[in-house]
């Protein structure tokens, strides 16, 4: 890895600017796959010829830099890093015949496929939006014909009306039609769902705070709710035997990891 310069204790102005650029970039990505796709472009080859090994190293280098710069990365970025480190070792080490599961090549091929597919969907999305659009490039009849001859009343309702009507009854008085005020609340269920998904990837002890969903760490209300929910979810998962929890001392970071299988 060629990032010795970031190890330096004193950062030069240009390095600080680079660091800031990095922060902006991390925030600009829609998750690790998006970041990987961007990194893959620096290889300047067709996505079909991409070197997944090189890509894994690029990604790990990127994460490493971010760590050095003390940028707080969302959990899914760290999860991806752990997985890519694992993939890298699989790709580099000679295959162990006793080992279960798919080969490094298979995993790499699937990652390449995911990247190619995501890129393809972005391309067609752009093509779609570039098409002529109704109300912008072509137009409908402005004067819909009204003939006052036979007037019949029909009643209509949309699927949304129907579903909301049903929800209104089933949730009785509690129901309020689509409001945003629970936006900043993370429920235990949501936290559990999230953590169950992520914990499978996390290799080693990770700070529970790194499981904060993206965008939630800045707003104090959201941060508080997510922290509480994540903590409660960790307890649940520990109770279920899925993870282990530790804390060095009072007020030290709470760390969790997946319970080793054996």
């Amino acid at each position: 890895m060629s990032d010795e310069e970031f190890q330096a204790d004193i950062l030069s102005v240009s390095e600080r600017m680079a660091a800031e650029a990095l922060i902006v970039e991390v925030e600009g990505y829609e998750g690790p796959l998006d970041l990987l796709l961007t990194l893959s472009r620096t290889q300047k080859v067709d996505l079909r010829q991409i070197s997944v090994l090189a890509l894994a190293e690029q990604y790990l280098g990127f994460i490493e830099k971010a760590r050095h710069l003390r940028i707080e990365l969302a959990a899914d970025y760290l999860v991806m890093a752990a997985w890519l480190a694992f993939l890298k070792s699989r790709l580099l080490l000679p295959p162990d015949p006793s080992e279960e599961g798919p080969s490094g090549e298979e995993l790499a091929a699937h990652l390449a496929f995911q990247l190619e597919r995501l890129q393809a969907m972005r391309d067609v999305a752009a093509k779609l939006m570039a098409r002529d659009q109704k109300g912008r490039d072509f137009f409908v009849r402005g004067q819909v014909e009204v003939v006052e001859r036979r007037r019949r009343i029909t009643y209509t309702a949309t699927l949304l009306d129907l579903m909301q009507g049903y929800a209104r009854i089933r949730t009785r008085d509690e129901f309020r039609p689509f409001v945003m005020d629970r936006d900043s609340v993370m429920t235990l269920e949501e936290a559990l769902d999230r953590m169950r998904g992520l914990i499978g990837f996390a290799g080693d002890w990770t700070d529970i705070m790194s499981y904060m969903p993206e965008g939630w760490e800045t707003d104090p209300v959201r941060r508080r709710s997510a922290t509480a929910a994540n903590f409660a979810a960790s307890l649940e998962l520990a109770k279920a035997g899925a993870i282990e929890i530790r804390q060095g001392e009072t007020f030290a970071p709470i760390q969790i990891r997946r319970k080793p299988n054996d």
């Binding site: 402005g142 004067q143 009854i169 089933r170 129901f175």
Partner: protein, 219 residues
């Protein structure tokens, strides 16, 4: 669609000063009259069309073109509009239909029937917590969104209600089973509230039973 793809530099330059050919002007008038919500005056056409255009002449051509067609270019005061040929007015009966939003009571009744069919009137009232007026059910039957199902084999043999094919067509559903359950409504952001304290019930309708919507009311 673009006809004149390879106009030369000079032609483009000229077109800045010359009016487009009459055939093009006619197309422009046609499109504007079609898309406009109100009859359009010649002055307005002139303002909208490229400099040097002659909408009056284009209108003469266009009116001629639509003579005897299913729609005609007609003069309304000092403006122009495209209108259905008067002899075809009878085809427009469907366009005179007036649409009204279904009442809340009717929507709720319909929703209960869709989610719980076959369901009796008493059951609908139990779920809604209020009585169902005769008019509401009649209205839904008249709209052909619900119909009578099989009679329930319980005392009094009450009739049940089910939704119709017309209902499915209207709401773009393949079957009533494709209606999303509460959980899915919530995750799609269509409702926000928690289930009421008494409602562990609300979630059960990710039905694995293949017949009927739910067994809730089966005896």
């Amino acid at each position: 669609m673009t006809d004149d793809a390879d106009t030369t530099e000079t032609e483009i330059e000229e077109s800045l000063f010359e009016a487009p050919p009459m055939g093009e002007q006619e197309r422009m008038v046609e499109a504007v009259l079609f898309a406009s919500a109100e009859p359009v005056t010649v002055a307005e056409l002139t303002a909208r069309m490229p400099h040097g255009s002659d909408p009056s002449e284009a209108l003469v051509h266009l009116r001629k073109r639509y003579e005897g067609r299913g729609v005609n270019v007609v003069r309304v005061g000092d403006a122009y509009a495209i209108r259905t040929a008067s002899d075809l007015g009878y085809l427009m009966q469907k366009e005179t239909v007036e649409q009204k939003k279904l009442s809340r009571a009717a929507i709720e009744t319909l929703a209960i029937i869709a989610y719980h069919q076959p369901v009796t009137r008493a059951e609908i009232e139990e779920i809604r917590g209020v009585s169902v007026s005769r008019g509401t059910v009649d209205q839904l039957i008249e709209m052909e969104w619900i119909r009578f199902g099989r009679r329930r084999m319980s005392p009094g043999r009450p009739v049940t209600f089910v939704v119709t094919q017309g209902f499915l067509d209207h709401f773009g559903l393949e079957s009533a089973r494709d209606l999303p359950g509460l959980k899915e409504l919530r995750s799609a952001g269509l409702l926000e509230s928690r289930p009421a304290p008494d409602a562990g019930v609300g979630e059960e309708e990710s039905d694995d039973d293949d017949e009927g919507q739910s067994e809730l009311f089966e005896e």
